[in-house]
Symmetry: D5
């Protein structure tokens, strides 16, 4: 089954059942962002997790198989994404990329923040001047190896 | 004066004085990421802030002028940046971009996280299994206007 | 249902009924440009609006569902669009982009014109030397936040 | 003299004299956007206009020559501009490009809005919820010729 | 109906009937290049013209509808076209583009040759050393407006 | 000497002397477009022609050498040129490229119009509704060889 | 019929019959490279040649029609081809392109080698140290026309 | 010394001395194409060869050093070269690339023609209908290894 | 049969049978990486090898045919691949590409490492601090030929 | 000091002293590939290492400073590198990228090979049929975190 087909099946069932990602977070004891990443085939679930997702959504058991495989990752089709919500993160890196690099090197030395040993949370901050989106990333610092 | 020249002057003076961005944060009462953004000419300082930066670094007063102007923004030369530290953020969006979009729409409706009414902090989380880089973004949610 | 399919269904029904976007503007009490944006799945309608559009066009009620979802935005396939009417706006930015930036900064300071808290109107100006297309954009000015 | 050199000379002199584009609009009886376009060498001035600009800014008379020539136009270096203020106009076309095309064709038939027989004005709309940038474009409609 | 489908239907019928574009020129009293542009959905016909084309080619009357609509223009898929016949015109602009610009500015001042109020003819010049292709373009000169 | 330096020297001298390309056409007995192509180093002159150009413009004799060499051709820096006058020719090919191919094949068979055994003339057509730019291209038809 | 469909039909039939391009060269009295170019729809056959190819391969007579039409040429999908065999020719031009240009200009003057009045042969040179591929290209020299 | 500087020094000296690549072929006992490749720093000479080239052209002995180093290869700046002479080779591969691949596989099996164990010769074939450029490439066939 | 179809058939059968590439390595006496390359149609098998693969996986005998043909190579769709596992190899070349070139030239002289007479092995190194992926490439050194 | 300037200084001094990277490996007790990476500013040395390199090469002490800083990484200018030696590694990934992904996932599960906790060695394997380049990469396996 192709990745877009799997994603569409999951999203359609989720909508039909009226379940939110926040509901799934409680049922699966996994963060909603990670669960959404499984939906878009950017993360691979365990047998147990796959079985649960499929059963909660009332989908055929065979679909669980597809959620276990190591996916070919990359969920955006375009080099520069056109969707305004997603583009803002690219703009943030254009504007704050070099400053972030400077600060991380000053705090940690030569290396990178891992995007694999990594978590990402999204919170809604209520604010009378307009609610705010809060995004918290946490990645292990990996120092460059010398040999 | 060209942007790279200004940036180099500031970084060289900062290094010679042995001052860190964390020191500047205390002296200027502004976040270190924002100050680094001024260094890379991605943010514009007030007259007072510019004067202070230049004086702390022992640079000529005229340089302050350049830090006040509205810059032409974009600190990365390449479409897909080659530096591994910066690239990881592009990879994060390739992998988690669509999941982030799905979660934000579920929590807030149709709109975006502002990259203008926006702050970004970097913290070092000590961890026996390897320190972690924590990045906190906070942007106002802007709902699409109908008319 | 894919975005092009939805758009085609709506456009075909609109043509068959002989309804113009100007007619829809009156019936829906929303600007014709915004309504066309809903047709091209660049804007999301409320339940009420979606129901009305579908009913005016005599289409199946289920289609309304698709008009409510937050769409993946971006209606042009190519990096540099080939259609002459659309390309002219790219040319306008190539020629007047930097001047516009200079004028906005002079009038407002460092920040941007929002493309989210934003409206766009198109008017026909009759002129004996040839009618003119008038386009009025209005976007909230967003000053860069310091932190 | 290269285009960036001319632009920089004009902008530096304008800043030193403390003159705004709005001042130049009054002195030259030309719109400030068009004058900024001359500064960025996207428009060519008449002998009289060039002489006046140079004299107001206290620059050498020879510079006037450079403002009269037909320039090689295009003020943005990158295919997709990284500056957030300018990028928003590209985003507007990604989101509203096809809707604009649909409305113009409905109102005028097959043709385009001229970007040559064209004017662009920028106004500041004061608003208690945040000032707004208003941009008014007016271009002659050019119908496709048949032959 | 998609653009390639319309084009293929028209070309197949034209071939089956053994009609040339030159024949259509006589029957429609429109230039053969313009008629070919209608076939490739780069130009929109009037009701009368569409009806005639469809009837001459013996195609279903409904097809005429598709020839009247304002098309999304651009008949070449690639940025740099690979077909040698079409590429030669790109090469001509690479080699003679700046010279053409210089000559037009010298003869007309700052402005452009319209590609909308525009005609293009192709003639065969018999020549004992090898026949020649003659292409005559005629476009209205549009001077840049000042405001 | 680099190509832009040669071109600038020639254009500056031509302007200082008040000579037009039309004047040079008469003096050199070569078409003004071809002469402009020599100025932009897209065509190579004979010793005699190079000597004449340099002498008419009152430039140093050594410059003539540079006009004789076979140049590395291509006068436009960008893949898609941003200058509106030059871009129109790209648009013409986007819109009329496939129709032109269809007509040439119908008249001549499989082959191309040569861009080497090729001439291009530009004429000004006076017209009360606005002067027109007329461009006449003539290229030898080259049939594909079979072997 | 689409170009890939035609090509696949021809290649499948050729394989089923166990016929090589070398066999076809003898049967058609045309070079095997040119015949392969007809298979990939990069060259157009005469009625007689098309009929023969189709009959030798035991395919339906109507297919012959498709081999006669002037094709839209360009057999490689990617700007930089990924197939190692084809890429080597791009590498040869990256490494030897400027040297080839220098030698041809020295031998012939300003002009090009035609890719239309052109033949290409491939021979196998047996060699104890490893067989060699020999490719012989022959194209008419076309001198640039002056006018 | 940068690659363009070395190349220009060599070409200028060669022109001043009135020496052709054909002359150098005789003096160095190496093919003229290979020698031109050394000039453009696409091939590395031995100490002896470098010394000879420099001495024949009357250049400083130190330049010889630069001709011995392994160069960073690739003599064309653009992805798709704009020079018509060089472009024709790209067009040849667009048109005949797949046919060449088919023929080589039929004659040799799965593998490639080496671009390293490779020679290229250019000959002038006199022809009353117009001289022809003959290019002979010879590369070792390298079969894919299995392991 | 298209390449993705063949690959999917093979992978699905392999999964259904519960066979690993390591199992196939033992059964076929070929390296698992090479076998995976056959699955992705990047390498061509012998008749014997193809027959065995198809029979082990319990697939139809005709599929063996497709594994013997010389494939059009290149298994990654994007210029810069988005999958993090594959991208790391691109990053390795961005960071260590020039150093590798310097070391190979120092050890071997001017030439390349063959990617055809080439093998690649992947081993798992158990390590208490985290297992390591070991990749061993071995390619014949090919010195540049002079002629 | 710019990166290319630093690299050139180091390479020139190394050549003048007649020192190889293999010599530096012994003197510094670091692998030659890592040392070459420091030369190309892709890796940062410790104070001690930088001091040693500069002193062995007889360069000014201040240069050591530049070798300690965290560099902006990426040593190849082009998206697709044109140098044949470097390109082969891109080709290896085009051909073996998906097979490598399949094997690593089979052996390790979902995750990547680190390019940071990573070493790379180059060895010369003498072979009577032609010496071979052996490249050994070793990177820590990083499993995707769930959260």
């Amino acid at each position: 089954m192709s990745t877009p087909t799997i994603t569409e099946k999951l999203l359609t069932a989720k909508k039909a059942k009226g379940i939110t990602f926040a509901d799934l977070e409680k049922l699966l004891q996994r963060d909603e962002v990670w669960i959404a990443a499984v939906f878009y085939r950017q993360a691979s679930a365990s047998h147990e997790e796959a079985r649960k997702i499929v059963s909660i959504l009332g989908l055929e058991a065979e679909l669980a198989e597809s959620l276990i495989e190591c996916p070919l990752k990359g969920s955006l089709e375009q080099t520069i994404p056109t969707d305004p919500l997603i583009y803002r993160f690219y703009e943030i890196m254009q504007v704050y990329g070099m400053p972030i690099k400077a600060i991380i090197h000053e705090k940690f030395g030569d290396g990178i923040m891992s995007a694999i040993d990594f978590t990402l949370d999204i919170e809604k901050e209520e604010d009378p001047k307009g609610d705010r989106v809060k995004i918290i990333m946490s990645g292990k610092f990996l120092p460059y190896k010398k040999w």
